[in-house]
Symmetry: C2
Subunit: 344 residues, 2 copies
């Protein structure tokens, strides 16, 4: 086990960023100066997004492996850039490290970040490291680019547009419930073997989410430019309301169209939770929610992994879900709220 | 006093970023989507830098007012962009907020950040807010731009180049010592009135540093492009060694040329500290350290607030300070190291 303090701040940065390779032509200079230097094609706009992850607020190291944590911390930023219909290019990584972490721990974390960057073709160009008297702090900023006429905002949805989501919803939330249940069951015993049999998908969705680069590519290939788009980090319900408020529209989504995996359903049953509520409000799915003109119906339907779940309405009709028995229930933004006192 | 939890995350962001105005033409869309959108002139490169500030590691709220803290957190990032000979344009602001902070506290902090942005013409374009179970966490990323042929790196110093610094050194460090002394003297008493008489400059340098935009402008006006430059955040000694290592050179600086303010000298005397050591290793001065070709000597000498303190040598001569009695002492990077266990 190596003490981080023996390296010092600059030594640690040098160590972690050693042999970093650069894959994007837009990256001119990475780590090692007062600032990184980039250059983007003159027709492209630059996108920037940032995410702050704090120990015991956003992650619990009892069951989150550091490498997975690093991977996820990077991927959730890439997801935001894809949600603009852009391409992530660079990240900066700031870490606050408390004294209980060894160099090997931080290498694990950084290995996960690097793995995500390799998988998505993103360069690490800078960052900051510091001691933390608190827990682990991870702050990642991601820069991306996109031709101006391709960028998709949240405010472009229009009545009659179709509402689409990629993948399935609620699995990451159910994965979190499962991990929490096994943590309680283990009662801190080191020899405890958690039981994830038949629920591997849920655990993977929670611990190692992916950004839907494939969907962005498929939409481009199909010649579809969404009218509005965002990624689902706080739950479908909350994100749909966002798009509708920003677009000054309402919406209708059909309960029976919301894509839910079999394992998610089994887990909800075991926990005696309402399955649709979990899918609407669960969060951390990192799927894409987007709207397309009605005329794109046939083309969007053919894209593997995309589901049409409803349509955009006039604003005055509000945001509602149409249940299996044809009742309308108002959508509420009950997404995970890390500032609410009653949340952990 | 208002509870932050009553607003929720989105409510807090909306509240803090309400009525934000945008002054840079490069800012196309700020807060409110998955990512902010910028566009830079086709001849310009994009610069990015980031800084993580953690309570009780980088700041002590016993004596740091929140508004000053916000101002400083923004300015230290601007300083990094100026140190590349660029112009800061946008920042993202991520905050981790523990439950002991009220909405008014966070408004104070944010008011300081906004004040700095107004003073330096920078736009707030995004960020993230979260609960923190620990102390206050501030992570700011700054984006700037510069014409490619104007950017100054750390690796361009050449033998015979003159070494210059702006302003004076060691005052911020002495300000910190003074604030710590008064904190101890107060022993937690609320009615305690700290004694800063005659040392106001030191307190200001510690609590409200400025980035040297004026020096960058003066250099441009004088037609001087530094060969290497960085800002002094960890101490002159550490930064000079950085430039020399990156430039594969050595250096000589003259002890009697290092600019030191009278108040800094008085404080060092009071604390029985070596004044030159404080000026070499104190840190947090946010002055600019740069090298210029020997031929620029007359022009650089005329710039108000710039001091020529030495010259660059061949690498084999190493980095040394020439003392008042003509002895040579090797420079050591004893700068503040927030990862060392013995630092607070």
């Amino acid at each position: 086990m190596s003490e981080i303090s023996s390296l010092g701040e600059f030594g640690l940065i040098d160590h972690l960023t050693d042999k970093l390779t650069v894959v994007n032509t837009s990256t001119l200079r990475g780590v090692g100066d007062d600032a990184a230097v980039m250059h983007y094609a003159s027709g492209d706009d630059v996108l920037i997004t940032t995410d702050l992850l704090l120990e015991n607020v956003h992650f619990d190291l009892t069951y989150v492996p550091l490498k997975h944590l690093g991977y996820k911390a990077a991927v959730v930023n890439f997801s935001d850039i894809y949600a603009m219909n852009g391409t992530p290019r660079q990240i900066t990584v700031s870490l606050g490290i408390s004294s209980r972490f060894t160099l090997e721990h931080i290498e694990e974390l950084y290995a996960g970040i690097r793995l995500a960057c390799e998988a998505y073709g993103v360069d690490i160009v800078g960052g900051d490291t510091s001691a933390s008297h608190q827990g682990l702090v991870i702050s990642i900023t991601c820069i991306g680019d996109a031709p101006r006429d391709k960028i998709v905002y949240r405010d472009g949805a229009r009545p009659t547009d179709l509402i689409c989501v990629s993948g399935d919803l609620g699995a990451a939330y159910m994965g979190l419930q499962l991990l929490e249940r096994e943590k309680v069951a283990s009662a801190g015993r080191k020899d405890f073997i958690p039981d994830f049999a038949g629920k591997e998908y849920l655990v993977e969705r929670q611990l190692k989410p992916e950004a839907r680069r494939d969907i962005i590519a498929a939409l481009a290939e199909a010649g579809i430019r969404p009218t509005a788009m965002m990624d689902i980090s706080d739950g479908l319900s909350s994100e749909l309301i966002h798009i509708c408020i920003r677009s000054k529209t309402g919406c209708r989504v059909y309960e029976d169209r919301i894509p839910i995996d079999y394992q998610t359903a089994v887990m909800a049953e075991e926990l005696n939770m309402n399955l649709v509520t979990a899918a609407l409000n669960g969060g951390e799915d990192y799927e894409l929610l987007f709207t397309v003109p009605l005329a794109d119906h046939d083309r969007v339907r053919k894209i593997d992994g995309v589901h049409v779940i409803g349509y955009i309405t006039e604003e005055k009709l509000g945001c509602a879900m149409v249940t299996r028995d044809d009742a309308e229930i108002s959508l509420k933004a009950q997404g995970w709220n890390p500032l609410k006192a009653d949340d952990k």
